[in-house]
């Protein structure tokens, strides 16, 4: 009986210590941000990892870069499409710099031509895990 009590106390104590250690490890994991796809009027943004890991089956970012042109495609959680095309060499370079963990922002005019492209690669962007 006494042994059982001692064993229970030890188990509970060990679990508590493990929980504290886990929490402290999580607390020191660094800043993380979730950036789901957002499609506005003439602009869109989002993280590739966040789109990929989202619980809905709609969020989507696709950057198609070919010789001489690129197409930036965004679809948000509601299925709303937004995108732009470009033939500008600087924007083509940016399109090619996008990686799995990138955050991409695009703006366009009424003709669907990209007017601004931002590609960010930060430690706080969510990498695709699924």
């Amino acid at each position: 009986m006494l042994r059982e009590r001692l064993f229970t106390k030890k188990t509970v104590g060990g679990a508590l210590i493990a929980a504290v250690l886990t929490c402290s490890a999580l607390a020191s994991a660094g800043f993380r941000g979730g950036y789901p796809v957002y499609v506005g009027n003439g602009y869109a943004n989002g993280g590739l990892g966040a789109a990929r890991n989202s619980s809905d089956s709609r969020q989507y970012i696709d950057i198609v870069s070919q010789e001489g042109w690129a197409w930036f495609v965004f679809i948000d959680a509601n299925g709303k499409y937004g995108g732009c095309t470009t033939t500008d060499s600087n924007r083509l370079t940016l399109a090619r710099s996008v990686s799995n963990g990138s955050y991409v922002e695009a703006s366009w005019d009424s003709g669907g031509n990209c007017t601004a492209i931002t590609v960010r690669n930060g430690s706080y962007f969510e990498p695709p895990v699924l």
Partner: protein, 181 residues
């Protein structure tokens, strides 16, 4: 008697005066001559010193010019690329690479062939049909994809532009599971 002695004293005085005058003149003349000689010697020395100075100046100028010429030669040598070695083709290639870095040729604007022109027209018709009904038929989409792949980059860019405009305006839905390109 006294009257008789006076001319004698007078003559002696004159003689004495003459002697003193001659002596003084001699002394002064000697001084002048020696002064002239020393002045002459000094001017000769000055001339020698001047000549030496001129020689030194000329030497300095020559040395300066030589130095300038050497510096100019060094600059020219630095500016010139290493001379190519004709006995080694690799060395020549390296030298050429230094002077003119090898760059990939700029892609020339590709003119579409007659088949590509026809393919582009057909792809455009498929796109218009999809826009009219607001979505892709499976058969149209697969035909569009096949045509799209055979087109030039420029033709593809134009089709993608039209596709994107139609989708931005909500005239054509986009299915990520079956993208048109």
């Amino acid at each position: 008697m006294q009257v008789g002695k006076a001319p004698i004293w007078c003559g002696l005085s004159v003689l004495l005066g003459l002697a003193v005058g001659v002596g003084w003149t001699k002394a002064h003349l000697a001084k002048d001559v020696s002064g002239s000689v020393s002045a002459l010697q000094l001017s000769t020395r000055q001339e020698q010193v001047l000549k030496r100075l001129e020689a030194l100046e000329a030497g300095r100028l020559r040395a300066e010019r030589l130095n300038q010429a050497q510096q100019a030669l060094a600059r020219v040598a630095e500016a010139q690329p290493a001379s190519p070695r004709t006995d080694s083709p690799e060395a020549t290639a390296d030298t050429n690479a230094e002077t003119e870095p090898a760059r990939p040729p700029a892609p020339a604007a590709q003119e579409p062939s007659p088949e590509q022109l026809l393919g582009g027209q057909q792809a455009q018709e498929l796109l218009q049909r999809a826009v009219q009904i607001g979505k892709w038929h499976d058969r149209d989409r697969s035909q569009f994809r096949a045509q799209f792949r055979s087109l030039t980059s420029s033709q593809q860019g134009e089709l993608v532009r039209q596709l994107n405009v139609a989708m931005n305006e909500g005239k054509l839905e986009f299915d990520p599971a079956a993208p048109p390109i």
